[in-house]
């Protein structure tokens, strides 16, 4: 159990820069999820923390100790790999005990730790098996067990759930979270799955093209995405981003699709006509009455009924795609629909930089 701090870490492979200066502070016992699309540098960041990759610049500290120059074996971290990376020629017991034997722990102590971890993970009956005799979920548990027995300062997870089928994934996700809470070990978890990220993390690092686009709690990220990438990446279905310009001396946005949206929380900076993107989550669109002036006329091209709700896909005037989630089944199947945006739930971004624009004052 320790803190982790990553300070100005960059990484280049030849001329390609994959990490552009990452700063991150993880407090004791915290679970940080690094999430992003493939190729965003999230795995590289994890491997740098583990010591499997050397940063081009920057420092890594674990528990205040600078480990940047240290070998993985000297960092006191444990890692769960995507393909589990179990030692194929060793039994489950040997797999779990390997790190402890290397550290020269007394035999009774090793046996005790392995037994405890095996019971905790429900694999006590598998200790004599070899990895090839185990199912995917069991291998996953053994990999977890191998990390737990070490009682490391830091847990590292490299997409450990992505090789499991959907049901097992949800189950293991909850199990990992419970274990991590119970053991209180500082953890860094890498995934490309935003649901996994939202449910597992105390805080998320949303990575985009080698930058940390936003570091915040899941709810903060959902409620106040820092830029259009984060806005689109977190939340399912993705947030709608509609083109607009600043109007009424900064107090409103005029959507290209027609309606004028008056900001609920105050004016945005910038000249009249500043290009904006207005973000609205699909669940924040509500059906509008015929008399409401500032509503979107949506032509529907696909309705997905999900039982408790329906997901609507359509286009607004001007041709931009729009997704909406409404409760229940869609009343009277129509090919058009009027939807209104609740101003308090609209997100405003600068169209040039993609950054969030907050109300001034």
């Amino acid at each position: 159990m320790a803190t982790l701090s990553v300070e100005g870490v960059t990484k280049s492979f030849g001329a390609t820069r994959v990490l552009h200066g990452i700063d991150l502070r993880v407090s004791e016992g915290e679970m940080i999820v690094v999430v992003g699309a493939s190729g965003c540098g999230k795995s590289t960041l994890l491997r740098i923390v583990a010591g499997l990759e050397e940063p081009s610049a920057g420092r890594v500290r674990i528990g205040g100790r600078d480990v940047t120059e240290l070998e993985p074996s000297d960092r006191d971290v444990a890692m769960v790999f995507q393909n589990y990376a179990l030692y194929p020629h060793m039994t489950v017991e040997r797999n779990m005990a390997y790190g402890l034997r290397i550290r020269g722990l007394p035999k009774p102590e090793i046996a005790r730790r392995v037994r405890e971890a095996a019971e905790l993970l429900g694999i006590a009956g598998l200790l004599d098996r070899r990895p090839r005799q185990l199912s995917g979920g069991q291998r996953q548990r053994v990999a977890m067990g191998r990390a737990i027995v070490r009682e490391p300062a830091l847990f590292l997870f490299d997409e450990p759930l992505s090789n499991l089928d959907a049901r097992l994934r949800v189950q293991m996700r909850a199990e990992i979270r419970r274990l991590q809470r119970r053991l209180g070990v500082t953890s860094l978890f890498v995934t490309h799955d935003q649901t996994e990220a939202m449910t597992l993390g105390d805080r998320l690092v949303v990575m985009h093209a080698g930058h940390a686009a936003q570091v915040a709690t899941p709810m903060e990220i959902w409620a106040r995405p820092a830029d259009t990438f984060v806005a689109g990446f977190i939340g399912s279905p993705s947030m709608n981003l509609l083109e607009a310009v600043l109007a009424e001396e900064g107090r409103a946005a005029r959507l290209r699709a027609g309606p004028v949206l008056r900001f609920a929380d105050g004016p945005r900076p910038g000249p009249e006509g500043r290009r904006l993107l207005v973000g609205v989550r699909p669940e924040h669109l509500r059906p509008a009455g015929a008399d409401e002036a500032q509503a979107l006329d949506v032509s529907l091209d696909l309705v997905e009924p999900l039982g408790s709700e329906s997901v609507l896909h359509g286009r607004v005037p001007g041709g931009e795609a729009l997704t909406a989630r409404v409760a229940g089944a869609l009343p009277a199947m129509a090919d058009g629909l009027r939807l209104a945006i609740r101003p308090a739930e609209a997100h405003v971004f600068d169209a040039e930089s993609g950054l969030r624009l907050d109300a001034v004052g």
Partner: protein, 293 residues
């Protein structure tokens, strides 16, 4: 799924197999059969009379102190060649497996010696270690180490071991390299995170995972040392000095070709044949059981 083509009738399959069967028959079954037949016969010195003697040739061979000395030589020679060739190949393969500059060129160069004929390789080593004209041989003598493979049996043995092993390193290298590359990188990374340093990783992870390859190569190398090193020994030492480098295969040759004692040579060949069949069977048994851990 592999699709299996099934031929109807027996004429076409037999025809297609015929070339291979013919080669096997002419170059293995026939000579082996003759050898087995010869091994139970005894000819007089002029080849005029031949009589059936049962297993007497075998009894004589096994009791012959010269044959026993050759068997001991073979054991020493084979163990040394297999050990040296595999050890060197494993070290080289472990180095080539790292991501180093010019790895391709390095690998290609290491494979070349395999293409050199045994006799040519032997001559090459002879030139290096010749006591009066060899580069290394002269250097040894000049530095006060008396070196002459024509006089010193131990040195002669060392030289044939060196030459024979050198030729086999390439072959072993290819297999070891392939074996190393088949080990998932993440397993090694997991081991290093678990606290294992390179030497420990090698002995606890890499070496056990290579064991199927190692065992396969051990059998191949032993068979090579038993049978394929005739040319090397013949060109380098001719079995001498004395009989210091006379192995079983060389002795069979001396007995049959130089001493024209066909019955004894045939018996020795049959013993060798039984040995290699046993080795091959052990290998097949083991490989079937141990390909997967």
């Amino acid at each position: 799924m592999r699709r299996r083509v099934i031929f109807r009738g027996t004429a076409l399959p037999l025809l297609l197999l015929a070339p291979q069967l013919a080669v096997t028959a002419v170059f293995f079954l026939w000579p082996a059969g003759v050898a087995v037949w010869q091994s139970v016969l005894q000819q007089d010195a002029w080849g005029l009379r031949t009589e059936f003697v049962g297993l007497r040739n075998f009894a004589e061979v096994l009791a012959d102190p010269d044959w026993r000395a050759a068997a001991w030589n073979t054991a020493v020679f084979s163990a040394a060649v297999a050990g040296l060739a595999m050890g060197a190949a494993l070290v080289l393969a472990a180095q080539a497996d790292k991501s180093i500059r010019g790895a391709r060129a390095y690998r290609t160069l290491l494979i070349w010696p395999y293409a050199v004929a045994p006799a040519v390789a032997a001559v090459l080593w002879l030139f290096l270690f010749h006591p009066s004209i060899g580069l290394i041989g002269r250097a040894l003598n000049a530095n006060g180490i008396p070196w002459d493979t024509r006089l010193n049996g131990g040195q002669a043995m060392a030289l044939v071991v060196l030459a024979a092993a050198w030729k086999q390193v390439s072959y072993n290298f290819i297999f070891f390299l392939a074996g190393l590359q088949a080990i998932p990188k993440s397993v090694l990374e997991a081991a290093s995170i678990d606290g294992a340093r390179p030497v420990r990783r090698f002995w606890t992870i890499v070496f056990p995972l290579l064991s199927p390859t190692t065992f396969f190569l051990l059998v191949v190398n032993l068979v090579y040392a038993f049978f394929d090193t005739f040319g090397t020994i013949h060109a380098l030492t001719g079995g001498g000095p004395g009989k210091a480098t006379e192995t079983l295969i060389y002795k069979a040759y001396v007995e049959g070709v130089q001493n024209t004692n066909l019955g004894s040579a045939a018996a020795q060949s049959v013993i060798l044949m039984v040995l290699v069949i046993a080795l091959t069977m052990v290998q097949f048994r083991f490989v079937e059981r141990r390909v997967h851990y």
